[in-house]
């Protein structure tokens, strides 16, 4: 089982490399692949870890953490439509007011986080 999976994996990777060598400039792709690792390991994770440090001590930690995971994920998925430069090809491409939608979503999660923290704090006090 492991051997079969591993062999399939190596074969798939070999096929991928072979296909990559056929595209116009494989070096460009290599730079962007490396850039993906640098962006993730060098910037995104340290920021998330930093936020994690701050969240570690709050009341209702699990709920707050969950809401922050949701906020981060929604933001990551919305970034292209929020930041995309240049005019859209036609009015049916990126037609929505994404900034407003995103602000509403963040406000909703903010209220939720504040509520969860307040409840956690009140419970801790009553004890």
């Amino acid at each position: 089982m492991r051997t079969v999976l591993g062999t399939l994996g190596v074969a798939g990777m070999a096929l991928g490399v072979w296909r990559l060598l056929e595209v116009r400039d494989p070096l460009d792709v290599a730079v962007w692949l490396g850039g993906a690792v640098v962006l993730h390991d060098g910037i995104i994770v340290p920021v998330v870890l930093g936020i994690g440090l701050l969240v570690g001590g709050v009341r209702a930690r699990g709920t707050v953490r969950g809401a922050l995971i949701v906020a981060g994920s929604v933001t990551a998925v919305a970034l292209p439509v929020l930041l995309r430069p240049g005019a859209a090809a036609n009015p049916s491409v990126v037609p929505l007011n994404y900034l407003r939608n995103w602000l509403w979503m963040m406000a909703l999660l903010g209220v939720f986080i504040a509520g969860a923290t307040a409840v956690g704090w009140a419970r801790a006090r009553r004890r």
Binding site: G16, V23, V29, G62, V74, A76, V81, N90, S92, P95
Partner: protein, 405 residues
């Protein structure tokens, strides 16, 4: 994220304790160096969490890979494949591509969660134990690079944003094989760890503990997957359209209630002189038809979706002439392979070929009307192809010629 604490000081409990005495024979400099690496005292960077999130991520990636590969071959079929591709189910491509984009979007929170969980392993010490360990670390690096790359390029492509210097389609396709290969290899390497942490009651899981904290983390990740899915899936799964907050398309936007990729102006096809426009039909007995003559032929209705490779799709009511009727009138069998040419200016999709399964399907129309009105110029006026189970780019607009091959 919660009790995550990094510090360069000696580590307490955790997966890695770079502060502990290093292997013998290390030079002082190396020892100093590895003391600079962060120590992870936080929880949930454990094998059970990695196993659970990895399972979800593996499922999403598998769906994404299979649907992406299917889409690639439907969009760019080899010549032997053209006549084999089926025209049913009529919603097949729509479902396929909706799943491709939705599973890719769902994989974004999962990939972040997975990489966060295993992040301390980046600082493993010694960095390389032996050749096999070195190869494994290289394969993990490839997995991280290709995973982040695929989700990033795919997501930006749906928003029609291309900041990179290379061509998207061949690169996204090539890297998908690298990604799935690295993933299978990774699963093979980790299989013993995965199986020993497969269940909540597995001995190795119980040894880690942290059950309640882990469940709350996993709930958070699951809710995040639900949130990104619900706020984008409405671009193809129209019952969710009112929740479509962040998708690059919305079913309510577009001429005649249908989104568009290439407009008539962009295609140089906005000025049609109906006095001179004639549809050419090629075959053993070729002929031409004016728009009025086309309208005089038997008309049929079909409810079929426009389903874009970028993931958005919407169903619409089309009315027009069956392609098979045109073929028969030209003396060609209904099950001919067909070439359709548009009068649009240039573009990679100006000339389209479709296999016999599509040509003979009674739902395949040369459509003249959309939702009860003549086609809007952006939807291909005066006539366009609409066929079941096909990607949007091959639903040729502004048709000039239909020929049996």
């Amino acid at each position: 994220m919660n009790s995550m604490q990094e510090s360069a000081a000696e580590g307490g409990r955790g997966n890695l304790r770079p502060g502990a005495t290093g292997p013998e024979g290390e030079t002082l400099i190396v020892q100093r160096l590895h003391r600079l690496l962060p120590a992870f005292k936080g929880r949930l960077h454990d094998k059970r969490t990695a196993t659970v999130v990895g399972r979800w991520l593996g499922g999403a990636v598998l769906v994404c890979f299979v649907t992406g590969t299917v889409s690639h071959y439907v969009q760019h079929p080899s010549s032997w494949l053209i006549d084999i591709l089926p025209s049913r189910p009529s919603w097949g491509y729509r479902l396929n591509q909706g799943l491709h984009v939705a599973s890719g979007i769902a994989a974004i929170p999962l990939l972040f969660a997975k990489l966060w969980t295993v992040f301390p392993r980046l600082f493993e010490w010694p960095a390389v134990r032996n050749v096999w360990h070195g190869l494994e670390r290289i394969s993990v690096a490839a997995l991280v690079a290709t995973g982040v790359f695929q989700l990033f390029t795919g997501l930006l492509n749906t928003a029609q944003w291309y900041p990179w210097p290379f061509s998207f389609v061949p690169v996204h396709f090539a890297v998908s094989w690298l990604f799935i290969g690295a993933l299978l290899l990774h699963i093979a390497v980790k299989l013993p760890v995965i199986s020993s942490h497969w269940r909540r009651e597995s001995a190795a899981t119980l040894e880690i503990g942290d059950g309640a904290d882990r469940r709350s983390f996993l709930y958070g990740v699951a809710v995040a997957v639900g949130a990104v899915t619900l706020t984008t899936a409405g671009q193809s799964f129209t019952p969710l359209r009112s929740l479509d907050l962040f998708a690059p398309r919305h079913p309510n936007y577009g001429p005649q209630g249908l989104p568009v990729n290439k407009t008539a102006v962009a295609a140089g096809a906005d000025q049609v002189d109906l006095a001179t426009w004639k549809l050419e039909v090629g075959g053993p007995q070729p002929f031409t038809l004016s728009l009025d003559e086309l309208r005089a032929l038997p008309q049929y209705e079909a409810e079929l979706p426009i389903a874009c490779v970028e993931g958005w799709s919407k169903s619409a009511k089309w009315r027009g002439v069956r392609v098979r009727d045109l073929l028969e009138q030209a003396g060609a069998p209904a099950s001919s392979r067909v070439r359709v040419t548009s009068f649009q200016r240039g573009g990679a999709y100006r000339v389209m070929e479709m296999g016999r399964n599509y040509a003979e399907d009674p739902l395949t129309l040369l459509a003249l009307e959309l939702n009860g009105e003549p086609l809007h110029p952006d939807h291909g006026f005066p006539a366009r192809i609409i066929a079941p189970n096909r990607p949007g780019v091959w639903q040729t607009k502004w048709v000039a010629k239909v020929e049996a091959l």
